[in-house]
Symmetry: C2
Amino acid sequence: MKTLTIDTDRLLRDLDTLATFTEPGTTGWTRRAFSPAFIAARAWLAKRMQDAGLSVSVDAAGNLIGRRPGLVDMPSLMIGSHTDTVPGAGRFDGMLGVLAGIAVARALDQAGVQLHYPLEIVDFLAEEPTPFGLSCIGSMGMAGVLDERELARQDSSGRTLAEALQAVGGRPDDLGSAIRKRGDIAAYLELHIEQGRVLEEQGAPLGVVQGIVGIRRAMLQFAGRPDHAGTTPMGLRHDALAAAAEVILAAERMAYAAGAAVATVGRLAISPNQENVVPGSVEMSLEVRSLNWGTVERVWAGIESEARTACSSRGVELIAGDLHDVAPMHTPDWLLEIIARACGEVATDPPLLPSGAGHDASWIGRIAPAGMIFVRSKDGRSHCPEEYSAPEDIALGANALGAALLALDHYLDLTLDLYLDR
Amino acid sequence: MKTLTIDTDRLLRDLDTLATFTEPGTTGWTRRAFSPAFIAARAWLAKRMQDAGLSVSVDAAGNLIGRRPGLVDMPSLMIGSHTDTVPGAGRFDGMLGVLAGIAVARALDQAGVQLHYPLEIVDFLAEEPTPFGLSCIGSMGMAGVLDERELARQDSSGRTLAEALQAVGGRPDDLGSAIRKRGDIAAYLELHIEQGRVLEEQGAPLGVVQGIVGIRRAMLQFAGRPDHAGTTPMGLRHDALAAAAEVILAAERMAYAAGAAVATVGRLAISPNQENVVPGSVEMSLEVRSLNWGTVERVWAGIESEARTACSSRGVELIAGDLHDVAPMHTPDWLLEIIARACGEVATDPPLLPSGAGHDASWIGRIAPAGMIFVRSKDGRSHCPEEYSAPEDIALGANALGAALLALDHYLDLTLDLYLDR
């Protein structure tokens, strides 16, 4: 099997250059989708794709795609991520995956390697939250789940998503042409910073992502009774915050007990929230995440059961809001094995871990086998100027990405041979 | 011993009339201290005092005082409360005590009863919170704890408390003349609505107040670490809200266990308070109240110890703010017995209960034996237009107040005889 030499110095320079496209007057680095900085960065990015021997286009969903032909016409191997950022962001989230993809394409080009499959390097449009109340717009479009209703969403100025999409080269009237069907993409790879502390804690530069967790979210309302903190004895209280506190601890305890799950109460709205008044009502956000959907449901049911007990013993009414479920994305075992072997070529015993956050891979994983490689994040920081991954870790990640691509081309080639009975 | 017949219909009419002095354009009834409505109400009130045979004056601390001479010149028996309200208030809090005092004086006048001691009916100035960040201004002045520093406080318009005091007939330059020393007041009585649900729950129209609870308050800060709710496994979290939840439950549990105490967490400020972020820091109000100061300290220590454990197990730093202590006021046993007997003359087995809220009696209790009678509140509501006590309960309260006053005059007269060796 071939091997590939990635010019990681060039990759690091590209990361530095891309970071210079930032919205003026913001802290850290800011390149929100649809902004002038974003559009300028994409023009630069298109040139980098061309330099790497890729033919560049923008699909109807606004994704910037650099394509390299294969021996067959389809399906393609795809590497992607995004280059938009949240306000006041860092220089790695998303950018690393796109620029590492280009670096791999450049290495293929310079070594004159002929892959069996076409290769597509994709800069997905607007992975981060947008003023349209939507994120992952480009990968949703490619997965075929972006519809007219979403396109009609407006930002605070009244501009529609359709208009914004057009301004970055998308074609809202022809969204169907951006859709890839199952079978169009042989496999999808995404290199991304971890944005957490698991790899750092384990002393590992790279991690093999088992999949992207499923999430269940809901708002819980606790309706008690506001009473004077002095004149109301404990036995006459209906303390909504005390009931909520039991749920906060139940969530923590049950997620711990489940092992591979997290549960979070991140937000409370307390009324009247005054020092000398027994809290009358509390609104609470609750979310449970796990790669295993059965675990999500089991943890959720356990928390809900404790919530009911905590409320009924205090005469507090529990009103559970609608459940919002996001199904997990599982990387197929065969792809996981290829990625793990590729990572193992450059790093010792790369750990397996789930991605607790969503990515473009969440959507592409619905139409194609999708896998991710995580690069260690310093102190777990992300979405802030302190976001950082070491140059040597980035170099390992890019090399693992290249190795995984070559292995995929080889492995799928063999599979194709079997299919085609060659 | 003499008995007294209170004209309770007249008292109820007086309550209705006093309620008409309300600030225009506010919900419910509003008569904030220093407002035109308050000043007009006091002019009316002074006339009611005169009609009842009292000689009226305003002391240097702005208290409106109606005085009836006794056989001796001092010490005096005092009945008081306040007629100012919070914004959007009801028609009973404070008002009942002042008007019932006048009703008692009127009954004495009409029956031609000669008391041994002088009687003073006091409308204390500004018991409710004021724009000067101070409450109980008049009773503090009488207790001698209102000083130059307090008088210099300004409201949002820059007006000083000294100026406001002058506008209601007080004499800020002569505050010392308002001070009563220990021995000047033989006993103080205050009839007040309960503002809680204890009497209602027990089916009792009247309650005998054992004293006013002591309060310990502090802000607790929990400094954890804000982390992404998806990418941070349970074992790597420093969840400030989970630590705080343990303290909320510890406060509830320890106050329950102590029996005659309440503990309240009424306010939380959570940061960043976002659904998908592990809470990084929490600021919490905590207060513990009990008539028994030892209980306050024991409950507080227990909560603090659990807080330390909850924080250290989560790697959360606990920063406890300064303690703000208000000592309890205890009604002396002999006075409690007189009041209980007076209440027992009009109602069956009046329960003993502490006052969980502060009153003018808190301050007067520092310079004189002070006792209170509570009248049942409907549904515990207060500081709102729904505040209500039934006419028949009010009648019982006024009669108990009159009976207690006569008993005091009799009891203290006997004591005085012993002292004077008559």
